[in-house]
Amino acid sequence: MTGFLLRRLLILLATLIAASLVVFAVLQVLPGDPAAIMLGTGARPDTVAALRHRLGLDAPLALRYLRWIAGLATGDFGISYTYSVPVRTLIGERVLVSLPLAVLAIVLSTAIAIPVGVLAAARRGRAADAAMMGVAQVGVAIPNFWLGLLLILLFAIRLPWLPASGFPGWDGGAWPALRALILPALALGLPQGAILARVTRAAVIETLGEDFVRTARAWGLSRRAALWRHAVPNALVPVVTLIGLQFSFLLAGTVIVENVFTLPGLGRLVFQAIAQRDLIVVQDLVVLLAGSVIAVNFVVDLVAAWLDPRQRLAA
């Protein structure tokens, strides 16, 4: 087990380094000079050169990469070119929007999808199953940003219950902040929930057909007990794996949904930083996002291994 863990950790590290190299290389080719952007149309070439020097942009490529990586390793994310504040502070402020949003979306989608999926599996072939899966089929096809628009139309404009956009921050109390996250979380979570419900249903049906469930039934276990005690726990492996995979989709999804609801999260920071050629922020963000995807998948693998009774026995 330790050997397995070590190997996985090594791969994780190697992937992270490769990702950082890719990001760094890609950004060097981007047209646009951060110094020129900061100084605007009236600036003279010598002024721009002076600023480039001050930002350390005139150092050789390899040196700049090493400086950056060394900083990352020690928790120093560098200084934002545009804001002149540590990138860590900048990201820290935004994470407080994006992370609760992603978590809320995952919780929502899981809370809806698993009961629906299990129920549909239990009622397989009946009208309830068909209706739920029909809705799920449509849900999968709705792009989250359009769902966001529809939710705004319905719950912010027609029925003025929730804010259409913006984020009041957490200083003003948890409730106003949560209120602002409800619609975005629904927009993000519902389509993912639809996918999850379909997978849950398929996985439960699959395990219902397996020998040990049949045996349990033959031993006189009620249908419901067989479902909840044996079929569902065993169906969790693919479901958990999918939730892990969805994390990556969710992160990407926040990029667009934050734009729909104008939330000051990581997604909008990415756009803003790309537009202003705040390269250091872009680099940090992409590596951070890629890193969290890698880390989440790593954890999911472990959880799946732990959940799977066959693998648990082997270990």
Partner: protein
């Protein structure tokens, strides 16, 4: 086989919706009610009427015509993106399956690396790098399709490589490439078809998303995503503008998903049992 196809409602519905979408896209090349770029400053933000069945946008352009032209651009981008992904991913996956060992490891680790980048984020970066536009959107979405096809191909092909007649062909001295083309690929074509349908649907969503943030097909060429973005600005005055393009995206994706599900049921009897 043919008989069972007719019994699958999702296959039928999916095929029908997709056929309509393709037909509309093709039709828009030769005919739309109005020129989709023609502006009518007098009739701006007009509600649906007999003259403009879906109304007009803030420039007075006919929304129905724009949605028709949007179908064409959306399907084109998705098609080429999937073609890029399949065209590079399938050979890579087939190669990895044929030559287990270092090459296989390399290809698979490369896929892992690609999967670590959230797809849309990658696309945003690529389009920001190369400039917004249809071509770059295709490329960005296509690049993310490469590892998907590589993985699926490798997974399916490895099973085929273990079969006796393939081993026999190898023993007879046939090259890996020849075996891949003659024996392996035909055997996994069905799996790849299903995957391609699913990726096609995902590509339509991705294209709409990129267009929504202004990185997809560029004006004046209409696109569903950009129509939604513009609609949001006028959502207080003309909420309907935010409905129709979204419906179009949903229908296109729904059609392809149903088609994919139906195909999968048809080709994989074991899975059919589960559905």
């Amino acid at each position: 086989m043919k008989g069972s196809a007719w019994r699958s409602p999702s296959l039928l519905a999916g095929a029908a919706i997709t056929a309509v979408m393709v037909a509309v896209a093709l039709l828009s090349l030769v005919w739309t009610p109005y020129r989709p770029t023609a502006m009518d400053f007098v009739h701006r933000l007009a509600p649906p009427s007999a003259v403009h069945p879906l109304g007009t946008d803030s420039f007075g352009r006919d929304v129905l015509s724009m949605i028709m032209a949007g179908a064409q651009s959306s399907l084109t981008v998705a098609l080429i993106a999937v073609a890029v992904g399949a065209g590079l991913g399938i050979p890579l996956g087939a190669l990895a399956a044929a030559r287990a060992g270092l090459l296989d490891d390399l290809v698979m680790r490369g896929c892992d690396l690609a999967f670590a980048f959230p797809a849309l984020l990658t696309a945003v970066m690529i389009t920001a790098l190369a400039g917004p536009g249809a071509g770059n959107a295709m490329l960005a979405i296509g690049i993310f399709n490469i590892p998907v096809f590589a993985r699926v191909t490798r997974g399916a092909a490895r099973g085929v490589w273990a079969r006796e007649y393939v081993l026999a062909a190898r023993a007879a001295g046939r090259g890996d490439a020849a075996i891949s083309v003659v024996h392996v690929l035909p055997n996994i074509a069905a799996v790849l078809m299903v995957q391609a349908t699913i990726q096609f649907a995902l590509a339509i969503v991705a294209d709409a998303g990129l267009s929504y943030v202004g990185l997809g097909v560029q004006p004046p060429q209409p696109s569903w995503g950009r129509m939604l973005n513009e609609a949001q600005t006028f959502i207080w005055r003309a909420p309907l503008l935010a409905i129709f393009p979204g419906l179009a995206i949903m229908l296109a994706v729904l059609g392809l998903n149903l088609l994919g599900d139906g195909l999968q049921d048809l080709l994989d009897p074991r899975l059919r049992r589960a559905r």
